[in-house]
């Protein structure tokens, strides 16, 4: 029984340029205790997918057009507002990209942490305070009891992200959604934060959805990975399979874009990039949205939308030539 099951989710935005299909027919499952990585370029619909799960899409202009988000046997999209509020923060915790702006600058850290458990666990302010101290210790804030009455601007970026993690995990949620949790941090802190998420995940037995555009981040964290492009799932595979044998030209391009000092071209000082730009989301081309940038593109790609092809038991790719690409990838390694 999966913990979270997203089925045919579509979220659209009404803009002046037309309807933007930010998330278009996205489906995935997440088992309890597992980590799902969602990878894609900016604007590929990663964040909108997860905001849709939490029903936090700004509306207007956004609206969830169709689909189901089954979480613990209930469809979150059908819950009344009062009920979804009890899920947010209690059963699903969320961490955001920019720790510098995701804490209220006018509230003490302690108050912001206490607010969560007072709200969801009916803590008195004394209990909430104790709990907040414990959470801050858990996420590795030294001297937590003394420092918790500071204001956010007195903490560094890495420490604020730790506070955000403490806040998101205060009620021991079943699911933690981390939306690019390390993008705004410098590299040394990134590693610490990822380690922390890993450690706490094991400690409180939560599932994680990790959104990122950094393949290195998901490589060490995720069990399953989905690759998104233009609001669609392009490839779905276990982390091992995806890095080992990508079955989609876009995934291959993404992997190639990571500088590898051992690769011959990189050693010569050349960096690979996927040619072209992501398509205008309000005005997607007919056929495969990646076709204009794909070196494998044939006439059929420009004409017809590609099918989801199963290349291995739990490995799918949205491509007319999925099997061939999968075959070539194997060849690369042999």
């Amino acid at each position: 029984m999966s913990l979270l099951s997203v089925r045919n989710l579509r979220t659209h935005f009404d803009t002046d340029g037309g309807i933007v299909k930010a998330v278009d027919d996205v489906s995935f499952d997440l088992e309890p205790g597992k980590t799902l990585g969602i990878v894609g370029e900016s604007g590929s619909g990663k964040s909108v997918t997860n905001l849709s799960i939490m029903r936090l899409i700004p509306s207007p202009p956004g609206r969830i057009v169709s689909g189901q988000v089954i979480f613990g046997e209930k469809d979150l999209l059908k819950l009344p507002t009062e009920e979804i509020r009890k899920v947010r923060g209690k059963r699903i915790g969320m961490i955001f990209q920019d720790p510098m702006s995701s804490l209220n600058p006018f509230m003490r850290i302690s108050r912001q942490l206490m607010e969560v458990t007072e709200l969801h666990m009916g803590h008195s302010s004394k209990q909430a305070r104790e709990h907040a101290v414990n959470m801050l210790q858990l996420v590795g804030i030294p001297d937590a009891a003394a420092r918790m009455d500071s204001y956010p601007h007195e903490f560094s970026g890495g420490m604020r992200q730790r506070v955000m993690i403490a806040m998101a995990l205060s009620c021991r949620p079943e699911l933690l959604i981390a939306d690019e949790p390390t993008t705004a941090l410098d590299v040394t802190i990134q590693a610490q934060i990822l380690e922390l998420i890993k450690k706490i995940k094991a400690e409180i037995q939560t599932s994680v959805i990790l959104i990122t555009h950094d393949l290195g981040v998901v490589a060490g964290m995720a069990d399953t990975i989905i690759v998104m492009y233009a609001g669609k799932v392009f490839e779905r595979a276990s982390a091992m399979d995806l890095f080992d044998r990508p079955a989609n030209p876009y995934t291959k391009g993404l992997l190639m874009s990571v500088p590898d000092p051992l690769r011959e071209s990189t050693a010569r000082g050349e960096l690979y990039q996927i040619p072209g730009l992501p398509p205008d989301p309000a005005n997607l081309p007919a056929g495969c949205p990646f076709a204009p940038r794909c070196d494998k593109a044939a006439d059929i790609c420009r004409r017809e939308f590609p099918p989801m092809v199963q290349v291995a038991p739990s490995h799918e790719s949205l491509c007319h030539f999925a099997k061939e690409v999968y075959g070539e990838s194997a060849h690369l390694h042999s």
Binding site: M54, L56, P58, P60, R85, K86, V87, R88, G89, K90, G93, M94, F96, Q97, D98, S101, S102, L103, N104, P105, F106, M107, R108, I109, E115, V116, L119, H120, D143, A145, A146, R147, D149, S150, Y151, H153, E154, M164, M167, A168
Partner: protein, 301 residues
Amino acid sequence: MSTPELIAGNSLFHQAMRRLVRNRLAVFGMVIVGIIALAAIFGPAIIFRATGYTYDYIPADSNLVKSFAPSWMHPMGTDNEGRDLLARVLLGGRISLMVGIISTVVSLLIGVAYGATAGYAGGKLDELMMRIVDVLFAIPYMMVVIVLLALFGRHTALGQLFLLFIALGAVSWLTMARIVRGQVISLKNQEFILAARATGVPKWKIVLRHLVPNTLGPVIVYATLEVPAVMLLEAFLSFLGLGVQAPLASWGSLASEGIQNIAVFPWQLIFPGVTMALTLFSLNFIGDGLRDALDPQTKRS
């Protein structure tokens, strides 16, 4: 020290206050306003103890001229009826400051509630609420106040005063509502509001605890500048004879009486006029100082 030292944390507000007390003009303003406020509160009682005069005591002599120049007995002289001008100026200060502060508080309450609601709700409700503000803005507010005072006023001196609070507050919340709405709109898309929503904080709590406190900077600045503006408005109304009625006094009504005799009894205009100007100056200094302190980046060099 046996107990571990708590790091209490320095709020952005405390830092702003520290910048404020370093601003000499603002400190000067606060001292002057403080002195005048204290004098207005306690002054009349002290004068009564010292000389036996009150603001409405009319001496029962039959001199033709009752207005005397400043003397030891009457430091600011007396008015046309022979009443002690110092006592009247201090009472006037009491009423003028009260009008300024109470009307500002009224406009603050209406404006913040209205603006925050419109800004956070957004969409059609926001559109409707702001069009109402536009329409109200188009009505000359001076007219509204004059009509209100003319229709309902003149029953009792106190009733008139109360009406003045309401009328001035009711016309000055519009700008406040616009400021708060603008702030709320720019804040509500910030990540910390999204983070609060993602932890399941109910809407009213988001508005009250997360949005409104973050708008306070500009609101406080506007409110401090609003106090002298309202006081000036009150003075203007009293000058026209629509505001405070004798035997009560405000700086406006005193100036209005004084200007009729300016050639003969100049002190009748000079003392209330100077006191009022000094207060308004000081309040404006405080407002400017607060703006610089709360938003150090826009400080004019």
